[in-house]
Each structure stands twice: as structure tokens, then as C-alpha cells.
């Protein structure tokens, strides 16, 4: 920021610089958006739920030891124990605490969900902006590639990739990212097309602004709200995909994620046994996180896009 706005002690009618005005407006609109978001009770509850899971994922390493859910250290624990004061959510077939597994699983599931979303959004935004802004044959080529990725059935591709590549968390992140960016790219491109033809963009160009400047200053800030909304909606899909792949046994075998817990519970016959404490908690956690992200995403979308607002 330029140094012209050192608070208005001496300079009496404040002549604010354009940057200051811009920031002032942005702050106001952010506050406005936050205010509208706050009035959406479901979204606020969802935010609290997400906050709760985030806190859980962050503090887990400080309140427990990963080794506690390593089967070699659970020799003295009962197997298939139902919930008790010692094991809040019971134990599994190897005597491991289900509660601890769900807590540690939150880290992996959330990490994969967020990392994969980031990858999706980055690829999708870059391709969408480049295609929309430059148009012409760049647009055609990029959009044909996007179409190609769009028509490949998502789950089979993800399964094949996960099966062929090395089993690790990064593989899962990569697989989700590489298979789910096309819809973001299309969304961003359409927004770029509409922004590009606005008057102020033409004016900026007429004043000699370069492409990089136009993208940075005019296109990107205007696409950002859309990207944000799209991000919050992509996270639950990524988490569900991670769950699906782990449930199908394609995840990292050494990591505990919610999908992996569900897979093991099913494999070891928890359902036949009636051991609800083994499969319900990870299932509920997935449902809650996905629902919360979706509700927050919908609310953000509504707040940021006036057309979706109820009048």
C-alpha cells in the first residue's frame, strides 16, 4: 500500500488514495458478507462443527500417542469391547480404541480433503482463467482437454490410478486432484468470459494495462468469490472420494483414515457382529463434516453471488 493514508491526524479532509478506497470497500463488503453469513443459522452451526473437527485434528497429537492405536501396544486390551469409560467408543478386533482411531483418522481425512481440493482449485482456476482470458485457440485446446477429462467416468479412473500408482496419501491427493478439476475450470472460465467484457477492463486496456496486470487486478479478484465458494463445495467431494478409495482398499495401508476404518470394520465383520461402535463413529464423522462443508459452501455461494440471494 502506498504511504498516503497514515491515519488522518493532521491531514484534515482525508483525501484517500485509490488503494485505500479499494481496501475500505473490500473491508466493508467482507463485513457485509460476514453479517449475512452470520444470519444463516445452519451455516453458523456448520462452521462450529467444522471448527470442532479442525481443533480435534490439531490437538490429537498433543493429547494422545499414535502408538496407542498400533496393534502391538494393545495386547492387553479386550477385543470387540463395547463403549465404556475406558474406551469411549469401544475397541476393534485388535483391541484398538475406536475413539482414538477416529481422532487420528480426522487428520488424514481432512488433510487429504483439503490438499486434494487445493490441487483441484489451483489446476481448475489456472486453466479456467487462461482459457477464458486468452480465448481463441488457447481456449479451444484447453477446453477440449477439459472436456476430455470431464467425460472420463470419475470413479473408475480414480480407482485405476490409485491401483496403478504407489499406495500413499499423496497418490490419493493426486488422483482426486487430477480427476476433479474440470468442473472448476469450466466454472471459472465462464466467469472470466463475463468479467473480461466489462467496461472497466476495456478501459484499463485502453490505458495500456498489460495482460498480467489485467488478470491480477481485475480478473482474478472478480473470480475469487466464485473460487472460494467452489472450494468449500469441493472439499466434501474430496473427503468422500478419499473415503471411497480407502473403503475400496486403495488407500495408504499404513494410514488411518475414516474410510480405512470403515473398510476394516466391514472386512472384519463388525456389521454381522453388531459392533455398531466400530462403524458408526467414522460414518457419522464423515456425514457431519461433509454436510457442514456443503452447508457452509452453499451459504458462502449465496452471500457472494447476489443473484442467488432471496429478495
Amino acid at each position: 500500500m502506498s504511504g498516503t493514508v497514515e491515519s488522518g491526524d493532521e491531514v484534515k479532509p482525508v483525501v484517500a488514495s485509490p488503494a485505500a478506497i479499494r481496501w475500505e470497500r473490500r473491508r466493508a463488503s467482507m463485513g457485509d458478507a460476514w453479517g449475512r453469513l452470520r444470519s444463516d443459522r445452519l451455516a453458523m452451526i456448520s462452521l462450529f462443527v467444522l471448527l470442532g473437527f479442525a481443533v480435534m485434528a490439531i490437538i490429537t497429537p498433543y493429547v494422545s500417542d499414535r502408538a496407542d492405536i498400533s496393534a502391538v501396544n494393545t495386547a492387553d486390551n479386550p477385543t470387540w469391547a463395547s463403549p465404556s469409560s475406558e474406551f469411549w467408543l469401544g475397541t476393534d478386533h485388535l483391541g484398538r480404541s475406536v475413539a482414538l482411531q477416529v481422532m487420528w483418522g480426522a487428520r488424514v481425512s481432512l488433510f487429504v480433503g483439503l490438499a486434494a481440493t487445493l490441487l483441484t482449485i489451483v489446476i481448475g482456476s489456472v486453466i479456467g482463467i487462461v482459457a477464458g482470458f486468452f480465448g481463441g485457440w488457447t481456449d479451444s485446446v484447453l477446453m477440449r482437454i477439459t472436456d476430455w477429462f470431464l467425460v472420463i467416468p470419475f470413479l473408475p479412473t480414480a480407482i485405476v490410478l490409485a491401483a496403478v500408482l504407489e499406495r500413499s496419501l499423496w497418490t490419493i491427493v493426486f488422483v482426486i486432484g487430477i480427476t476433479s478439476w474440470p468442473s472448476t475450470a469450466r466454472l471459472v472460465r465462464s466467469q472470466v468470459l463475463s468479467v473480461r467484457s466489462r467496461l472497466y477492463v476495456d478501459r484499463a486496456r485502453a490505458l495500456g494495462a498489460g495482460r498480467v496486470h489485467v488478470i491480477n487486478r481485475h480478473i482474478f479478484p472478480n473470480v475469487l468469490p466464485l473460487v472460494m465458494a467452489s472450494t468449500t463445495l469441493a472439499v466434501p467431494i474430496s473427503i468422500l472420494t478419499e473415503t471411497t478409495l480407502s473403503f475400496l482398499g486403495l488407500g495408504d495401508p499404513t494410514q488411518v483414515s475414516w474410510g480405512a476404518i470403515l473398510n476394516e470394520a466391514r472386512e472384519k465383520g463388525a456389521i454381522d457382529r453388531g459392533a455398531w461402535w466400530y462403524y458408526m463413529p467414522p460414518g457419522m464423522a464423515i456425514v457431519m463434516v461433509v454436510l457442514a462443508f456443503t452447508l457452509v459452501g452453499r451459504a458462502t455461494e449465496t452471500v457472494l453471488d447476489p443473484r442467488l440471494r432471496e429478495r
Binding site: 496393534a71 501396544n73 495386547a75 478386533h93 485388535l94 495401508p253 499404513t254 472384519k268 454381522d272
Partner: protein
């Protein structure tokens, strides 16, 4: 005009399906079908190439042998040969039954027998050679075959190798016989193959030319499951009649169900953690594993009693030696001072003393020269329900003594390739032995090492010792059973102390069948063995359908009806579409 092609296609498809419907409907007498659920697909139908239990079961059904093994105690009894005689213990004369025929109607003669034995010896067929390597067979006439052993052979007169139809296999043997897919379905056993969908199922039909007569069951369908609970659910719902390898954790619950019988069979099968001994010279196994100290430390890091309890649910036997036969007489007692029991402190100490120290403080030991950490690749099967808990425990215990692991999962074919190429450090798998200990013992001789990726041997310990080989040659010609048992005990003790294999435990075959469909299940051996997937699986020809149970085959006729209705519906739609299109076309023409 444009729709014509589409409508034609639909109509053609509909015609095709109509034919299928009538074919279904016309077979009013549903065949008596025994459906077997299992979790292992066949690797190869070719007995000169395959090695999985599921494939052996199929060969046991399709190929009869000269002599059979009694259901009760594995005693040698007549099969294709009705009698045999020998004067000197080296030359045996077998007389075949009268009027033997292959399932395709061709006569089965002494010539088929002699050809199989001689060719398998010359070409060193992987499943025959341990038995036929020292034999020469001559067909005296159509029903007489003379077998001469070059050395005294304790296995004779038992001749339990699969006799193959020469008229099918001779042209295959001219080239590389192991590449033949063997889906011809010609055999002499109770059932022969009719169809196979890799990864899904295979079907065997009763052989009308089986020497005991056509079995009471018309066909046996083997259905491959990837999920143990789904397989058990299918048994409960009556979709399948038998389950092989019931997951250990579902076994207790299943035995409480009414109308279902569960049983555990002991056959000497075992699960092991194998280390790459690099004796074959291929691949890039971790150098530390060639050090006996490290191998012993790994063995001592593993708490086998806990593993047995938590993974196998105490079904089977907690034995640390190779299982070479269902007969426990071959299992040695390991002297107390040589036992490698769970003792992580001693394991750590011996690693420390041998110079495997954690020099960079990351909790993982390094080689004495500091070149690389003790980080081993750990390979496991993706279709085993025990792989995950075994890995969870073993990698955890190894970490406690300062050894790191990197886990990879493979299917059976992939893991076989990985082992053959020597590009592994540790893997977990298992074996099931035959009645005679010789084949299992032969797998760990130097001759079975894989030194050329084109000819894969059985020796997946990738270990070899001249002392073991010498003992192997001795037991192979020892006719005195007590002495032979003693030699085998020495071999197994040697193999145990070398610790290239850590035998985790001897598994039980956990099986279950429905009581409302078939009766006459035969355990082999009596009382302790399983009923199917046994050494020769006599159940297939002793089973009879229960009146009103299997004979009616309600499920499949229902399924047939549903399929018929669905197909009929599609056919109707196709016809409607066709006529609509045609009337449009006529309208088009009019316009």
C-alpha cells in the same frame, strides 16, 4: 429414415435374447448344482504351470491319478490302476481298469500314463517332477504300465501325479507346455471344466466317463469373492452351498447359525514371513537380511502367540516349523536352546552387538558401515483378510527393535512376479503341503531357486544350503520310515534355525456348508480334515442332493424366471421400437 438402423439393432438384440429365453425355459430339469464360494481365483488351469490351492482343487477334480488316497487316512488305494505288484521295490507293474475313457470319449490307456510320466520327467514339469524325476514308465499293453525307479523310492507304489490326456497335450509339449491355457476340459476325474470367467467364477460338469460312475452332482460352480463377509452372507441366504476359508472373525458367529455346519480342517498349511536370502542372485534384496543375526532378531521380535490369538483367533496350531504334511509325525520338536521365541530385548542386544546401531538418532538402525538404514520393503497380498492385522502387528514389532518397513500390497500374480524377480525384502504368504513331505521339502533345495526370470522355481525363501540338499537327497531314497522321519526332522530344524522363513502359525481350513442341500460330506483325513480343498477332495463324488433341497433348485429357477421376464420385457420394447420406427418410415415415405 434415420431411426431405422437403431430400431433394427434393437430388434436384432431382442431376437437374440428371445432365443436365450427359450433356451432357459426348455431346460425344465435344472441341473443339480453345488456352488462353492472361495476367495482365491485360479492362477492357471495348466498343471504344469499353476500353484494355487484353487488350481489344485480343479486338477483334483479333472485329472484322476494312478493311485488314490483313502478319505480316512490317506492310505494308498486303487484308482485308475486297479492293482499293482513289485518284486524288487524298484520296478512296479500297474494294471489299469478295464474300459477307461477320457471325458471326451477317447480311450485312456497305459500309453497316456507312460507319456505323462516320461514327458514330465524330461521337461521337469513343476508339479510332477518331484515325483517322476527318478521314474521311467513303459506301456506294456493298453492296460499295463511298468514304472522303474532309478533309486529306492519311499513314495512308491503311490503314484499321485495327474495323468494328462496325451491326445490333447502332446502337441502342447512340443513347444513350451507352460503357456498352454488348458481350457480344453478333457480329463478322467469326477468333474471337468466347462467354462471360466477369470476373476469371477468357473464351472465344472460331471464326467459321465469317471471310473466310479457319473457323480450325483451335475455341476460344481466355484464363485470367487473378494469380500469374506459377502461370501458368508451368500451362504446364509442360500445363494451358495459351501464356503472355503471363512474369515476367522466370522467363524464363531457362523457356527451358531442353524442349518449351517462349520468345521476346521488341519492339513499342515501355514503362513510365513519370508525374508529375501538372495541365493538366486536376482534382484536387490536388503543386504542385512543375509546376516543370520538380523534374521534371528526379526524372528525374536515377533510375538507369535499374540499374533495367533489376535489374527487366527487360535484356530490352527502355534507351530514354528514348516508344515510338510497333514500328518503331525513329520513335525520335529525344536530343542529349547534353538527356539527363536519372542524376546525383543535379546533381539535389540544382538543387533547392537553386531554393529547395527542407530547412528542418526531417528529410531531406525543403520548398517554397520552406516551405508543404509534397516528399512525393509514389506509385501503382502491384497485379497487376504489376515494380511492387514498381520502387517499391523509385525511392522509394529519390527519398529520396536529399530527396523523400519515400507508396505506394498499385491495380488497373487503380482506377488509371484515380485518374488521371482528378487525385488523384495520381506513378504507374508503361506503354503499347503501334500501328504508326502517330499514336494514341500523339495521347494527349498538349491535346484528350485529362481536364477533366470524365464524359469521360475518354487524356492521363495531364496535360500539354499548344501547341508539341506544332502539331507533332502538322503530322505528321498530312505525306505525305512522311522529313519526318513528322523532325516526330515533334521531338515526342518535346520530350516527353522536358518530363519529365512519365520513360520507364524499353522492355519486351520475354516469351512462351512448348508445342511439343507447336500449330504455325504467327506472329511479327509477322518475327523480332523476339511471336506473340500482336501488332498484329493473325495466329497465331490460322495455328495448327494437332499430330496426337495438341491434337486428343486428353487433359487435358480426363480432367477431364471426373473431373467426371463426382464429379457421378455426388453424384447417387447425392442419390437415396439421397431414397429414405431417402421410406421414412421412409412409415414416418411408417404410424405
Amino acid at each position: 429414415m434415420k431411426r431405422q438402423l437403431g430400431a433394427m439393432c434393437l430388434a436384432v438384440a431382442a431376437l437374440g435374447t428371445v432365443v436365450v429365453t427359450t433356451a432357459n425355459a426348455s431346460s425344465g430339469d435344472a441341473p443339480v448344482t453345488l456352488t462353492v464360494g472361495l476367495m482365491q481365483d485360479i492362477d492357471s488351469l495348466n498343471p504344469t504351470a499353476g500353484y494355487l490351492v484353487s488350481a489344485y482343487e480343479t486338477w483334483n477334480m479333472q485329472y484322476a491319478t494312478l493311485t488314490d488316497k483313502a478319505a480316512d487316512d490317506f492310505a494308498t488305494e486303487p484308482s485308475l490302476a486297479e492293482s499293482w505288484a513289485s518284486d524288487d521295490g524298484l520296478t512296479y507293474t500297474y494294471t489299469l481298469r478295464e474300459g477307461l475313457k477320457w471325458s471326451d470319449g477317447e480311450p485312456l490307456t497305459a500309453d497316456d500314463v507312460a507319456w505323462t510320466i516320461n514327458t514330465s520327467r524330461d521337461q521337469e514339469w513343476i508339479n510332477h517332477f518331484a515325483t517322476t524325476g527318478n521314474l521311467t514308465a513303459t506301456a506294456i499293453d493298453d492296460r499295463t504300465v511298468e514304472i522303474v525307479s532309478s533309486v529306492p523310492d519311499p513314495k512308491l507304489p503311490t503314484m499321485d501325479v495327474y495323468i494328462l490326456p496325451r491326445h490333447i497335450w502332446e502337441e502342447q509339449a512340443a513347444g513350451d507346455i507352460t503357456t498352454y491355457p488348458a481350457e480344453d476340459g478333457v480329463g478322467s476325474g469326477p468333474f471337468t471344466l466347462t467354462s471360466r470367467n477369470a476373476g469371477q467364477d468357473w464351472t465344472m460338469a460331471a464326467n459321465p466317463n469317471f471310473w466310479r460312475g457319473k457323480p450325483a452332482v451335475d455341476q460344481v460352480v466355484f464363485r470367487v469373492y473378494t469380500d469374506g463377509s459377502a461370501m458368508v452372507a451368500a451362504l446364509k441366504s442360500g445363494e451358495i452351498d459351501f464356503v472355503h476359508d471363512v474369515p476367522a472373525e466370522l467363524f464363531d458367529g457362523l457356527s451358531e447359525e442353524s442349518g449351517i455346519v462349520t468345521l476346521t480342517g488341519a492339513q499342515g498349511g501355514f503362513s510365513e514371513l519370508a525374508m529375501n536370502g538372495m541365493a538366486g542372485g536376482l534382484g536387490d534384496g536388503h543386504p542385512a537380511l543375509q546376516d543370520l543375526t538380523v534374521r534371528h532378531a526379526i524372528a525374536q521380535a515377533i510375538d507369535r502367540p499374540q499374533l495367533f490369538d489376535r489374527v487366527a483367533h487360535n484356530q490352527g496350531q502355534l507351530l514354528g516349523t514348516l508344515g510338510v504334511s497333514p500328518d503331525p509325525v513329520w513335525t520335529p520338536e525344536i530343542p529349547a536352546d534353538q527356539q527363536l521365541n519372542y524376546d525383543p530385548e535379546r533381539a535389540k542386544q544382538s543387533l547392537e552387538d553386531a554393529g547395527y546401531k542407530d547412528t542418526d538418532g531417528d529410531g531406525i538402525r543403520e548398517m554397520p558401515d552406516g551405508s543404509q538404514p534397516l528399512k525393509f520393503r514389506y509385501a503382502e497380498l491384497n485379497d487376504s483378510d489376515q494380511a492387514a492385522p498381520i502387517r499391523e502387528l509385525i511392522t509394529g514389532w519390527l519398529k520396536e527393535i529399530g527396523i523400519d518397513t515400507e508396505v506394498s500390497t499385491y495380488d497373487q500374480t503380482q506377488l509371484t512376479d515380485v518374488i521371482a524377480s528378487g525385488e523384495y525384502d520381506l513378504f507374508v504368504w503361506g503354503w499347503t503341503p501334500f501328504v508326502d513331505p517330499d514336494p514341500m521339502l523339495s521347494y527349498f533345495t538349491c535346484a528350485q531357486l529362481t536364477t533366470d526370470i524365464e524359469s521360475v522355481g518354487y524356492n521363495d525363501a531364496n535360500w539354499c544350503s548344501p547341508e539341506y540338499d544332502a539331507l533332502y537327497d538322503q530322505q528321498k531314497v530312505e525306505l525305512d520310515r522311522a529313519k526318513r522321519i528322523d532325516i526330515v526332522h533334521q531338515m526342518l530344524t535346520l530350516f527353522y534355525t536358518e530363519s529365512t522363513y519365520v513360520v507364524l502359525y499353522h492355519d486351520a481350513d475354516t469351512q462351512a456348508y448348508r445342511t439343507d442341500r447336500f449330504e455325504g460330506w467327506t472329511r479327509q483325513p477322518k475327523d480332523t480334515g476339511p471336506v473340500l480343498f482336501t488332498n484329493t477332495s473325495p466329497s465331490y463324488w460322495t455328495l448327494t442332493p437332499i430330496a426337495g433341497g438341491a434337486g428343486g433348485d428353487d433359487d435358480s429357477s426363480n432367477t431364471g424366471l426373473i431373467i426371463g421376464l426382464a429379457v421378455g420385457g426388453v424384447a417387447l420394447l425392442g419390437l415396439i421400437a421397431f414397429f414405431v420406427a417402421r410406421s414412421r418410415k412409412q409415414q416418411d415415405d408417404k410424405e
